[in-house]
């Protein structure tokens, strides 16, 4: 799969990238939300793993922008949100886009990786 990881915590970004690469996936990564939007609009990704709290914009903004090229169903299928915050607000918004959410830190690493690869 062609996967995009949008995460500004360097260690998380690098290790997730490596982990998915060892599973045989083609992985791109960026810490910047704005950069991510450009990448999404120019490259066809099967999966986008997106952190909510980024330095420049929020993960939900990225999802909004990507609606330019994705249908509702594609959005809910491709995006997986990872976040340390699990406030009700976040859950409500995620429901709006119908995306999956994974809480950081992952309870089960294998399960998480499996989810990313599905």
């Amino acid at each position: 799969m062609k996967i995009l990881i949008i995460e500004d915590e360097a260690l998380i970004q690098k290790s997730l990238t490596k982990l998915l690469q060892t599973k045989g996936h083609d992985v791109d990564a960026t810490p910047s939300g704005k950069q991510a939007i450009k990448m999404i609009l120019s490259t066809k990704y099967d999966r986008i793993i997106c952190d909510l709290m980024l330095q420049d914009i929020s993960g939900f903004d990225i999802i909004e922008e990507s609606k330019k090229i994705f249908s509702q169903e594609e959005v809910s299928q491709k995006f997986i949100i990872i976040t340390a915050y699990s406030s009700p607000q976040v859950l409500i918004n995620a429901k709006k886009y119908n995306c999956r959410i994974l809480n950081k830190p992952f309870e089960d690493m294998q399960e998480a990786i499996a989810l990313f690869s599905s």
């Binding site: 915590e9 997730l16 982990l19």
Partner: protein
């Protein structure tokens, strides 16, 4: 020259708590001396063993008197009501007139008769009042809906009620007149049961309006000497009436308070109040009752604690989120490294890193448990909680052996546990506090060779008992109850609030926290409600 002292205060029985100045001719007893010299007033007083002198200008007399009153108030630390201010009388020139002996006389009467009825009766002992037969006192307590009429002769005393309109009528009639002497028709005396002619004066006191009437019960005009005397009498009389009424008021108020409290107390217990033996009830229950109110509603400690907890909770939340990402990153990286080829030594290092990271994450999670702003009840695993708390205090309790027993049986983590239905945050805070206290005591006790903390858990009837003890120096018998008082501490650091707050928290869970002697040694005992049916 005026001497003032608190001799009047000393003469009163202990149950009345008044604080005011009396007048004395006895220089030795006086606490305050006021001297008039030319255009100055000199205040000389003794306070906290030191002699002080203030010289003030005539125009500043009132201010100075108020100030001195304040100074004496603070020094004496007596509770309300505050001393009646002499300043109120400083403008009443009659008071400062030469009728010193009359004041002394009245003060003597007052010392021995401080209830209104007996004071009035004793007025007849004043020689100049020899020919008078009846004293009438009409009182209206400001704000009340009715007024009183006290009629006193040498032989009897009668009290009756009066409407406000009637009282006001009388008051106005007396007030308007420039004379003090009244004929029968002037005041419509018959309406007020005043027989014949009389001398009357209206008095406006801070708490009451009064009309004081002296009558010979005949129809003759008042003699000049009587009128002169009456005018002299009014000043000091007014002073003592004010004292008496203030006292009466405060007694009434405390009775009312008593009744009020009793009613609320019965109400809170679901009983209908009975008024038998109020005094006993009052004395035995008031402490209980007040501390109940305190604990349930007005506990400043509680509010303080809540605020701190909220602040800490928010702080911890922020910390948790900030640390969460870097720790996660470290965790992922460690896992990644483990997947790669490395020497067995490197692998061990990486495993240690991973372990430390998990421990850090656990610490954050567990602290969040203690400081979460959560007040709901839930089923908690007591043994797991205890172990989590042990890990939080690892550095403090490193050298201390921690033993948990359920029903006398020694427990390690994986075996048994006990489930409780209670508030996790509160219980965690209390256990954490006990742990830290124990650890600090044990660590400071240089004589202890093998320090131990023992926790015995057992279920008795519908209660679970958690006995928390250590083999440290313990707590002395004589302070075993004081330790739960706020701000009590034997340590040089810390707030002294830990045990007070802990007890408070456990009480909120419908439990008890005590320090008692048991065969295992001195023990903190936590008792909590336990229902088997929950599980």
């Amino acid at each position: 020259m005026i001497y003032l002292d608190s001799c009047v205060l000393e003469s009163l029985s202990g149950s009345i708590n008044l604080n005011f100045w009396g007048i004395t001719t006895n220089k030795k007893k006086s606490q305050l001396l006021i001297q008039k010299k030319d255009e100055h007033y000199i205040f000389k007083y003794k306070l906290s063993g030191e002699h002080k002198t203030n010289i003030v200008l005539k125009k500043n007399f009132k201010k100075s008197l108020l100030l001195i009153e304040k100074i004496f108030l603070t020094a004496n630390e007596k509770s309300s009501p505050p001393p009646l201010s002499l300043a109120r009388f400083s403008q009443n020139k009659k008071f400062w007139s030469k009728s010193h002996s009359l004041r002394v006389l009245l003060s003597k009467i007052f010392i021995n008769h401080h209830s209104l009825n007996s004071f009035l009766k004793k007025l007849f002992t004043v020689i100049e009042l020899k020919s008078f037969q009846t004293i009438h006192l009409f009182l209206h307590e400001k704000g009340k809906a009715a007024s009183r009429h006290i009629e006193v002769t040498r032989r009897r005393l009668e009290i009756s009620k009066q409407s406000i309109q009637e009282f006001t009528q009388l008051l106005q009639a007396v007030k308007k007149s420039k004379n003090r002497s009244f004929g029968q028709s002037d005041l419509r005396s018959a309406d007020f049961k005043i027989i014949g002619t009389c001398l009357a004066q209206d008095l406006a006191l801070p708490t009451h309006n009064l009309v004081f009437v002296l009558s010979k019960d005949d129809f003759l005009a008042q003699g000049q000497s009587d009128i002169v005397f009456f005018k002299k009498l009014i000043g000091p009389l007014s002073f003592y009436l004010q004292l008496i009424l203030a006292n009466e008021l405060s007694i009434n108020n405390s009775n009312q308070c008593r009744l009020f409290l009793e009613t609320i107390h019965s109400f809170s217990k679901g009983l209908t109040p009975s008024y038998e033996n109020i005094d006993e009830f009052f004395l035995s229950n008031i402490n209980d009752f007040l501390s109940n109110i305190q604990q349930v509603n007005f506990n400043v400690l509680d509010v303080n604690h809540q605020e701190r907890m909220t602040l800490l909770g928010e702080l911890l939340n922020t910390l948790k989120h900030e640390l969460s990402n870097p720790l996660f990153g470290l965790q992922l990286t460690a896992e990644l490294l483990l997947l790669e080829k490395s020497t067995s030594e490197q692998e061990e290092f990486i495993r240690n890193i991973s372990h430390s990271i998990k421990r850090s994450q656990g610490i954050i999670k567990n602290f969040s448990k203690i400081y979460s702003i959560n007040s709901h009840l839930e089923k908690i695993d007591l043994i797991t909680l205890l172990h989590e708390l042990f890990s939080l205090t690892k550095s403090e309790t490193r050298t201390i052996k921690k033993n948990i027993f359920i029903h006398q049986k020694f427990i390690t983590q994986k075996e048994e546990t006990l489930y409780l239905f209670t508030n996790q945050t509160s219980l965690a805070q209390v256990l954490f506090n006990l742990l830290i206290n124990s650890a600090q005591a044990l660590n400071n006790d240089k004589e202890s060779l093998s320090p131990e903390i023992n926790i015995f858990i057992s279920i008795k009837e519908h209660k679970v008992e958690i006995e928390f003890s250590d083999n440290g120096p313990g707590i002395k018998q004589n302070i075993s109850q004081e330790i739960f008082q706020p701000f009590f501490t034997t340590k040089t650091s810390g707030t002294g609030l830990g045990l007070a707050i802990s007890r408070n928290l456990i009480q909120k869970l419908n439990g008890k926290l005590d320090y008692i002697a048991r065969d295992k040694g001195p023990t903190f005992l936590i008792t909590l409600p336990y229902e088997n049916s929950y599980y």
